[in-house]
């Protein structure tokens, strides 16, 4: 990384800052604020919150630690970053959990005031790590008694001590703003808007402490280095900061509105999908109906019933819930109704690691049902991309009258980044097939190109008919006929396979041929692309393809695979896409797997690629 003194600032292309403290310390707020003031610079940015496991553990303990990571830069930012360049630790437990990730020589800001014997004990420290000279040797250590300084700053204010100390996090934030030369105003504005009305003194206290933190940096001799990230060359346009699940909800609504369908979202809470139900419920005035069902089986049943009635039914869950939805997915496939089923993946098997990320439900999406019931599968690749992925899933469901599985994961769902909004006219148009009005209605008669059946909606006179899960013929009548079963099985499969004809051509990141092709899907996009770009910059013959569609696979994939000497498939599972590619193309695709409940680091992928390059 080139360093170059300039007006007291050291210039950096990009910086990763992690704020860590107790669940009660307001680290998520600090992270959000820091993000917003970087966004206005503007910097390219990506963030990721790291919550403690579901239940709020006792203050000061290891499981009680909550963190928020911000990655901002003057170049394209595709991930929230690997090792942080700076760590702000508000208590010993936070230090204990996160220190191992901090880069050698990284900036380490700690609230020395929180290093009490009690807190040290809860964090499992024999003695105070701040007293270990090694620490200052290894990192750019900046111990500040934030607790005391905050109390000091607010001694005049009328707040209770407990409430005064609540402002600690803004001191840390102010100091960080000084270090990275961020503007204070957006935060001050935010604070006043948020609390100004109800709790003016709280608002002011926070503003005071924020400034105190900033000026502490300026005045105190404690620390001289400041880092500067110049404005990023972001594409011009309209931007909005968005998280994965938020984008997903917007994408669903946009898809429904595109063809004037009512959206009925039915879900049952489960980490990390709950916020989809919650956000959808907050969009009532857009005509979205939401139902919190009694379980995941009912949730998909309600969504399917809504689709049967003419709305577009959507349901969302995570792995355990996907298991429960599998029987209904079979009915949806057999009765050929439009439906979108979102799986926000988390660590498995079983209850597994509910608050950690993983990509291990791909094969379940493909084969997690009895009988031959192929379904289209769409996957999102970044938080903001969840919008396009959800829109695409809706497009396929409604164009082909079929259930679609939309795969995201915890990392995308909770991650956030600036989203360059598409303009209204940039949405891909599509149409819902209309039933043929001459002759009696044949529910399973198919559109000549798409092979989609045209749905006739209850309430339409003259189209009365019955649907069900028993095998049926083109006329929709139950049929146990041998030939008919073979025929319907072929038709269902052909319809799904044909969806590939509607895909845009594959985008190859890099040259269309070379030594190594990295083939990826889902949340690994950022890490894969970053590593491949960096290697390309170093002159290696490496390219990558990131799949939006996992089923059917794109028609132009076969050809591309053959143009590379080696194919590497990095996945947060034990090799699921790799297996599909091997079976389908008989290509010796090599899996690169990680099962640690966390995303790949760019370095891990770079290394794996380099190992495949003939030297």
């Amino acid at each position: 990384m080139e360093k170059e003194k300039q007006s007291g600032f050291e210039e950096r292309r990009s910086v990763v800052v992690r704020f860590a403290g107790d669940s009660g310390d307001g680290m998520q707020t600090v992270g959000e604020r820091f993000t917003d003031s970087s966004v206005v610079v503007p910097n390219a940015i990506a963030t990721f919150p790291d919550f403690p496991a579901e239940i709020r553990a006792p203050a000061g303990t290891i499981p009680g630690v909550s963190a928020f990571q911000v990655h901002f830069g003057s170049r394209e930012i595709l991930t929230p970053g690997d090792e942080p360049d700076a760590l702000v630790a508000m208590n010993p437990a936070a230090l204990k959990v996160h220190l191992e990730d901090l880069t050698q020589g990284g900036l380490l800001v700690v609230n020395s005031g929180a290093f009490t014997p009690e807190n040290l004990r809860m964090a499992g420290y024999e003695e105070n790590p701040l007293e270990d000279p090694g620490l200052a040797g290894k990192y750019e250590l900046v111990p500040i008694d934030i607790t005391e300084l905050t109390r000091e700053t607010l001694k005049e204010s009328g707040l209770k001590t407990r409430d005064k100390l609540r402002c600690k996090n803004f001191f840390a934030l102010g100091f960080s703003y000084w270090v990275y030369g961020r503007p204070l105003d957006p935060t001050i504005r935010f604070v006043r808007e948020k609390w100004g009305a109800e709790l003016p003194e709280v608002a002011e206290a926070n503003v005071q402490v924020l400034k105190a933190g900033y000026f502490f940096g300026e005045t105190s001799e404690i620390h001289r280095n400041r880092y500067m990230v110049t404005k990023a060359a972001v594409r011009p346009g309209r931007y909005r900061k968005i998280s994965g699940n938020e984008a997903l909800v917007l994408g669903l609504i946009a898809g429904a509105k595109q063809v004037g369908k009512e959206l009925v979202y039915s879900g049952y809470p489960i980490t990390p999908a709950s916020s989809i139900l919650e956000m959808a419920s907050s969009y009532k005035h857009f005509g979205i109906k939401t139902v919190q069902a009694e379980d995941e089986i009912a949730a998909i049943g309600i969504a399917l019933g809504a689709s049967f009635a003419g709305a577009i039914g959507v349901t969302g869950t995570s792995g355990p819930g996907m298991c429960l939805k599998s029987e209904f997915l079979g009915l949806a496939a057999s009765s050929e109704l439009p439906l979108v089923v979102c799986n926000i993946q988390r660590g498995g098997p079983s209850t597994g690691l509910p608050t950690k990320t993983e990509q291990s439900d791909l094969l379940q999406a493909l084969f997690g049902r009895h009988g031959e019931s192929p379904l289209p599968i769409v996957a999102a690749m970044s938080p903001s991309d969840c919008f396009s992925a959800a829109y695409e899933a809706t497009r396929i469901a409604l164009t082909y009258t079929t259930p679609v599985i939309l795969l995201s994961d915890l990392y995308l769902a909770n991650g956030a980044e600036p989203w360059r909004l598409p303009e209204r006219d940039q949405f891909q148009g599509f149409e819902v097939p209309k039933p043929n009005t001459d002759g009696p209605y044949r529910p399973f008669e198919r559109h000549p190109e798409t092979l989609a059946r045209a749905q006739a909606l209850p309430g339409t006179p003259g189209f009365e008919h019955r649907l069900g899960g028993l095998e049926k013929n083109d006329a929709g009548e139950v049929s146990y006929d041998r030939e008919n079963h073979a025929h319907m099985t072929r038709q269902r499969a052909a319809k799904i396979a044909g969806i590939a004809k509607s895909y845009a051509p594959l985008i190859i990141n890099g040259e269309p041929e070379g030594d190594v092709l990295v083939l990826s899907w889902g949340g690994t996009y950022g890490a894969v692309t970053s590593s491949v770009r960096s290697l390309q910059a170093e002159g290696f013959q490496v390219s990558s393809i990131h799949l939006r569609h996992l089923n059917p696979l794109p028609d132009d994939l076969a050809e591309t695979l053959r143009r590379f000497k080696r194919v590497l498939v990095p996945e947060l599972n034990t090799g699921q896409l790799a297996m599909l590619v091997r079976a389908r193309y008989l290509v010796d695709a090599l899996p690169l797997n990680k099962m640690q409940g966390r995303p790949f680091r760019v370095s891990e992928i770079r290394e794996a690629i380099l190992n495949l390059i003939p030297s």
């Binding site: 610079v41 961020r182 990023a232 060359a233 009694e294 049943g301 019933g305 029987e327």
Partner: protein
């Protein structure tokens, strides 16, 4: 499309071309007949019905009703019916289920559609057996029932469907039986009129695997003494000469001779299905053979807002406050920011 009847609807309009596939003599035929007679009399256009079912002999029902239908999966009909009604409240939704479909695998969904008070009419065909799978005992089979899966007799206490519905605080609870089409039609109509979920237990005979299971209460020989027809404002009387009545002894119902030599008619409980005390519904629902006669008709109807109206209502409220949101409003919110061509140029001075 097929032409829609221009004449007033008749039973024939609801008969499908599919030939009916139940065993000869199955009680389901009579229920089908009753519902096909009911529909034309409800003033609902044929295309506005949705008949939804799970899996079972009973659940084959939708195939035989000439309107919109959905034969779903085992036990899950209530979920599909809820989604259908929520998406299109104008439809008249009828849910067909069995004692296995509704009370074994589907018990939870039935519980929740009842407590949510979704305006769906639920017909539970109770033949106290699994018909479609060829005769295993069901959750309504009496203790000791010998079937293929219980060669030494079943050991679990059966569910009383009406008590279950009461436990879920269903707003409409009724019972009828397959050998009385007139009674079925009247109960179906009342269910249709009820603004809210309607739960109807239908005693049904399975000639093949559980023949005569209900003869103890509704055969020619027994029905006069064993059936108690509920009519609002009328005393709880049964018996050929209506000389047997139900009286309360403390909190326990008892059957007594009424009139000459017996109890006075004034001591006999008088039926009232409109907003009755839950204790009264409990009393009726628990009455069972052989101790007491079996109540037939409408046990209770309670007025409570329906789920689907509340859901639509919130949308209207939200729109009244915020206006019905357009896609633009959805995407291009206030916290958006613009990056102009100029700003887009990188490498300018650091922010001070």
């Amino acid at each position: 499309m097929t032409t829609t009847p221009d004449h007033p609807l008749t039973k024939k309009d609801f008969v499908t071309s599919n030939d009916v596939r139940w065993c000869p003599g199955c009680g389901d035929y009579a229920i089908l007949n009753a519902l096909q007679r009911t529909f034309p009399e409800l003033g609902v256009p044929r295309e506005n019905f949705a008949v939804i079912s799970g899996i079972g002999c009973s659940s084959r029902f939708p195939y035989y009703m000439n309107t919109y239908g959905f034969h779903t999966i085992h036990g899950r009909g209530p979920a599909v019916a809820t989604g259908t009604k929520v998406a299109n409240p104008d439809l008249s939704v009828w849910l067909i289920t069995g004692d296995g479909d509704g009370l074994s695998i589907g018990g939870n969904h039935l519980l929740h559609i009842l407590r949510r008070n979704v305006n769906v009419n639920i017909l539970l065909f109770n033949n106290r057996i699994y018909g479609l799978t060829k005769g295993q005992y069901s959750p309504t089979s009496p203790v000791g029932t010998r079937t293929k899966s219980t060669p030494m007799g079943s050991v679990d206490n059966p569910i009383n469907p009406l008590l279950f519905a009461l436990g879920a605080e269903s707003t409409f609870i009724a019972r009828t039986y397959d050998t009385n089409v007139k009674h079925m039609v009247s109960v179906f109509k009342a269910a249709h009129e009820h603004e809210g979920v309607s739960f109807i237990e239908i005693l049904q005979n399975c000639v093949i695997f559980n023949d005569k299971t209900w003869d103890s209460v509704y055969s020619r020989q027994t029905r006069d003494d064993e059936l108690l027809f509920l009519e609002d404002g009328q005393p709880l009387l049964c018996g050929k000469d209506r000389n047997q009545g139900i009286r309360l002894n403390g909190l326990t119902p008892e059957k007594v001779a009424v009139g000459a030599g017996g109890a006075d008619i004034s001591e006999v409980l008088v039926h009232d299905s409109i907003e009755p005390s839950p204790l009264y519904t409990q009393l009726l629902a628990q009455m069972a053979y052989p101790e007491l006669p079996t109540p037939m008709g409408i046990l209770r109807r309670i007025n409570r807002p329906t789920y689907e109206t509340a859901v639509s209502g919130q949308i209207e409220q939200a729109r009244a406050r915020k206006g019905s949101g357009s896609l633009e409003e959805l995407l291009y919110t206030d916290d958006c920011w613009f990056v102009s061509e100029e700003e887009a140029a990188a490498g300018t001075d650091p922010v001070k």
